[in-house]
Symmetry: C2
Subunit: 449 residues, 2 copies
């Protein structure tokens, strides 16, 4: 049985971060990475832009060449190699290669198997013209279809971040685009005012939106597909289902590995699981919410990279490394709009028994008299009792999203609104009004007496 | 003797902020504002862009119309009215109007007289073709000269923020531009790498830079001016002197008002001076540096507005209002470059006995594969002993400056580099690499063992 001192399951963001960092800080251990697909170390978040042809060559999404890992970093990479079983007691894994089955033993293990698309149990959802967008294979398959067939009409099921990004991609290719959302609202993570802004932007870009759409059946017809929902029928050439994802951890069931009910591996700030010498990282894991202290499932690329880095360093013997958790920051570009959120929504806060107060403002991105200023919406949410900032949102152009990062820093640090409202943000006319939108919003929350 | 419950000396940023906020929270008091110049409530920071014709009409710089203050807000405004003396004991001020001298009594006083340009004692510096840029009158005078005479060549004395902005203005008008700086470096507030970037950008835009230039004499000639420095001579059509500013507080000397040696009024977080019922705000004041806890002279528009707001609210009886101080954030646009700084430089830290460590990185503004990514330079400085972030800089495009605001928030909150390096900044390919430049810089400062 071949042995790796460090064995990593999964070779995308989290897995390759772990491999690279482990090697960087430890030249002596043997490292092996097993990846189910053809590709390693790719920028999955770039796929909507690959599909829209903003990025023409998929190779640009590959962060590091595979051969470089092998030759320069002395990391062994096995692609098309699926780990089907882990024996935590014996410390080995079973691997299905393209044409063989093998076992490999390990000293330290990093599980970074990512997530897979949720497919709702609807008749016809398994049609091959219902695409999902999760792995680079998925992205390339969609791209190939769009280039070969040049379809005229597409339906996106799901109005979350990926659905919104895909709407932009399809419109860039001049494809008639419909978003079909089961809930009464799209972009449900955001507050009403931001959702309204997103809807306006979609409509401005000729995207149709159908909410409250409960799909009964999807049927392949001679020249495309038919979707039945609420008794209505839509014809379309193809469908992209972006309903959500769930952890790729089915093969780990009943192994004693600590997971949530939905199969997310629970890890701590060292990326350690409950099993000694077993780490996990990325979209197959939970992450600590720094505000509520809950371990939540919030799979995002930047978190994957952080968890992967810590897993790799810890596994390589760097015990000092810690990733304490997230505050829930999310950015999404919707056509020309920057949309961003951090912290808790008012609803989430209420669910955690937190009393909130909030303020919303529209301000310009630059001084009023400076040309080409854009409108920025800012929402700030505070804990009414201890006055700390716990959430915020932005929508607009010209730096709207980066402003939410300033809120994220304040939330991470536990800053109160009184200090934030007079914070020393930089000012010059090309960058903001003298009271930046963030300060203007915060000022509205001050109690003056 | 006419009486005002609240009397304000100075009607620009700080003074009008004080007046507006006092009125907003107190409808019953009488408020009078005395302004030496023709104009009130203008955006002084916009003047370089007025001169460059990016803003064509100076009226756009006037934040609120004078008549609106008088009629809608019931604030009495006296322009061309210079306060020449304050009698703190008797609680009255002497005012030189255009054609009369009057005295006015007050209950509460806000001093917001701003600053004036420093004119070094060099022969010929008092020539009328040596312009300074401080008040709107100054700006309009330069603009009028440039439009009437259409000069071909200008010299800017001083390579600080205003000098850099004015270089951009003059080049926009296709005027041959030279920056003459006494020190060996321009943009001395910034670190070496940023200064290099600024210099490159100036040269790319055909601005000549002469450093170490010790001016001996300025002489008016038949067709322009001659500057003698270090034994050399430069011919020029006009000169803009932007060497620095000092508080407009000469008329307050020997009154018992607590000021620094250089005449900056020392105030606390309520904008109170050492004299009861006397507040001060803006460029005539000190501000608390939150890192060093020193009261420093750092006159900036955004600080003026904050101090003015607090002075007005406090004077109107809102005792809860506090502006605790600044961390030294400064933004300046230099042609197409965003330049930003916050916190202490390594030199300033050393002067305060703080051991530092620092990291510098260049990263892209967007994901590597996303089109039109720009280069961003980030520097982060930490206190080596307690690991808190104490300073940082940025240079670049596409959101470089806003990233320094994230550092400013971290500094204000006392965040340590370990938490910052794994902070949950938003990510999507159009907004940043998966490890944003800030995180990449911070990661370099982590101690791994």
């Amino acid at each position: 049985m071949k042995h790796f001192d460090l064995l990593i399951i999964g070779g995308v963001a989290a897995g390759m971060s772990a491999a690279s960092q482990a090697r960087r800080y430890n030249e002596n251990i043997s490292i092996g990475v097993f990846e189910k697909s053809d590709f390693i170390s790719y920028g999955a978040c770039g796929m909507p832009y690959l599909i829209s042809n903003l990025i023409t060559d998929y190779k640009k999404l590959l962060a590091v060449d595979k051969n470089k890992y092998i030759n320069e970093r002395n990391i062994q990479i096995f692609t098309n190699s699926e780990v089907t079983e882990v024996n935590f007691k014996e410390k080995n894994v079973s691997v299905k290669h393209a044409d063989s089955l093998e076992k490999y033993s390990y000293d330290k293990l990093v599980i970074a198997t990512g997530a897979k698309a949720v497919i709702p149990p609807i008749k016809g959802m398994d049609s091959e013209k219902v695409y999902t967008l999760r792995n680079l294979d998925d992205g390339l398959e969609i791209k190939k279809y769009l280039e070969l067939v040049k379809p005229e009409k597409g339906v996106i099921i799901g109005g979350g971040a990926i659905g919104l990004e895909m709407a932009e991609s399809l419109r860039a290719l001049d494809i008639e685009t419909i978003i079909l959302e089961k809930m009464d609202i799209i972009a449900a993570a955001f507050s009403e005012e931001v959702r309204k802004t997103i809807t306006d932007e979609l409509i401005r870009n000729n995207v149709s939106i159908i909410t409250g759409a409960d799909i009964q059946e999807i049927a392949e017809k001679e020249n495309g597909m038919q979707i039945q929902y609420n008794g209505h029928i839509i014809d379309t050439d193809f469908i992209i289902a972006s309903i959500g994802v769930r952890p790729n951890t089915d093969f780990l069931k009943n192994t004693g590995l600590n997971m949530t009910g939905r199969g997310a591996i629970i890890i701590n700030e060292k990326s350690e699981t409950n099993i000694e010498n077993v780490y996990a990282a990325g979209d197959c894991c939970t992450v600590r919410n720094l505000i509520t202290k809950d371990d939540v499932y919030m799979p995002l690329g930047t978190t994957s990279n952080k968890q992967g880095r810590v897993a790799g360093l810890q596994a390589a013997g760097i015990n000092s490394e810690r990733f304490k958790g997230v505050v829930g920051t999310q950015f999404v570009k919707v056509f020309d709009l920057e949309i961003a959120k951090t912290g808790l929504s008012e609803k989430e806060a209420a669910e955690h028994g937190i009393n909130t107060d909030s303020a919303e403002v529209y301000r310009r991105s630059k001084a009023g008299y400076y040309p080409n200023a854009e409108k920025i919406f800012i929402k700030i949410i505070i804990n009414k009792d201890d006055r700390t900032i716990i959430g915020g949102e932005a929508a607009g152009k010209d730096g709207a999203a980066q402003r939410v990062n300033i809120l994220a820093a304040a939330i991470t640090a536990g800053m109160n609104i009184e200090d934030f409202a007079y914070m020393d943000l930089g000012y010059a006319p090309p960058f903001s009004p003298v009271w930046d939108s963030l300060l203007a919003g915060a000022q509205k929350l001050l109690i003056r007496n």
